[in-house]
Symmetry: C2
DNA sequence: GGTCCCGCCTCTCGCTACGTGAGGGTCAAG
DNA sequence: CTTGACCCTCACGTAGCGAGAGGCGGGACC
């Protein structure tokens, strides 16, 4: 019971071209040909194709599949392990990218009217890798991280604009409070710190007090964030950081 | 202050070839050339390169970067959102692959001496997509899933052999119990069901009673798994499934 | 002024896994 | 004998460069 390319292609849900390709590179050559030169696949060929497709689904490159199949004594476990590592590595990189994109989106909320050029200028020698890695360390694989990933991706431009407005309003009020001379551990400062935390929870992820103090440290430790708050009002990064810590201690 | 390709390449940490490529495709052409034909990059070119690299770090294809940059009125937010979706989609696919690989590894424990061809034969018209999707639905993004992902990847061949030995030993004892005529909700059957659950916990992930009963349903519902248990002893899939349910009800 | 060497130039092929025609035979049905 | 579905073999295109080949430019040293 020989099959033609088209039949095999439909059965295996690949294109004819794919089968031609496998034939070209010697990964899967049909058992025979008709006098007219048509490829004739046998059942054994179909089985081999199944295996090939299975490995392909696992992300193996064709060459490696050929190695595995053509060396029946070879142990596929090392291949599987290598592939496993490789895939998890790639997943890690992609998650870093996602984190970086979210940062870029958030950056828009901080300075939404800037052109891309200008926005990147703000960050100066901004290194997305480093930041993404840091985000990954802190939130990677946690529930908070997934939450943020899911929600941030769905925000519309209007959402961002509302977010930005809220943010600016909060910034104004916080700057006023500083100007009034209230200490960073005053009830008013703590209230605004708490509002800051809840805004993050509403917009991004459940921001626990622990995470919040982590952010606070980042605001003074990471010049990109420091610069942002200092631009609203000099001294604000440190003042906010202190208020967040005071708030966390007081409520915990 | 014009720069040569080499200088720009070092400053931006890209290769000269990359700059040539960007020039070729018109993404970044130097402002001028020396009489000898050397590329002469100006500060503005450097800035553009910065932006290009930033977008590249986010995983944007060069063509799209060109679009964004050459249309200064365009809003990059939709691009960011699309890219965000695209990346999370890719992550999902990769995680499916990882799940499928883990399944393949686990399959080895069930029948470790088989050649790759034979192993895939066991699964018949096995569809990794469907199964991976199912695994994703059940475990995707959960702590259990991550645990398994991390641990499975590190197992050596010896680990798998130990796992296989344990597994076979348990299978023998379970088959004997069945032969003895003990009902599936007898204390002995429940004890072996519990052992089954703990083996999963030790080797793969914290297997709660809820997850365990989910597996039990799969053993009778999914012919691939049914076939595996039926081969040990006819009727075993249903018997084990019942024992697992009894065990879960009794301990909860 | 000659020579040395580094850096620059422009090709051009190579990599993955096929997609997409171009141009032309083959086969079963009407 | 024609039609239409199917098959064949080239052969180029894809993204984003890496890795040369073969040849010129420019500053330093003798």
């Amino acid at each position: 019971m020989p099959y033609t390319v088209g039949q095999v292609a439909r059965a295996a849900r690949v294109t004819v071209r794919t089968l031609h390709h496998y034939d070209e590179i010697g990964l899967l050559s049909p058992s025979g040909r008709t006098p007219a030169g048509y490829r004739r696949y046998e059942d054994a060929d179909l089985e081999r194709l199944q295996v090939i497709r299975a490995y392909r689904e696992l992300g193996f490159p064709l060459e490696e599949i050929a190695e595995i199949l053509d060396d029946p004594g070879a142990d596929p476990l090392p291949h599987l392990r290598r592939q496993h590592e490789l895939l998890t590595g790639r997943i890690g990189k992609l998650r870093e990218m996602v984190a970086a994109i979210e940062l870029a989106m958030e950056a828009r909320t901080l300075n939404i009217e800037l052109t891309p050029e200008e926005r990147f200028e703000v960050f100066g020698d901004f290194d997305p890798d480093a930041h993404a890695e840091e985000a990954e360390r802190r939130w990677g694989g946690t529930e908070a991280y997934r939450q943020s990933t899911e929600r941030v991706g769905r925000y519309s431009k209007e959402d961002w604009l509302r977010n930005k407005a809220e943010n600016e309003d909060w910034g104004r009020r916080f700057a006023e409070l500083m100007a009034s001379g209230a200490p960073a551990d005053s009830p008013e400062a703590m209230a605004l710190a708490e509002e800051h935390r809840q805004r993050i929870t509403r917009w991004f992820y459940d921001c626990s007090y622990e995470i919040h103090t982590g952010l606070a440290d980042m605001y003074v430790g990471d010049p990109r964030f420091t610069a942002y708050y200092e631009k609203i009002r000099p001294g604000m990064a440190a003042y906010l950081s202190e208020a967040i810590h005071a708030n966390a201690i007081n409520r915990a």
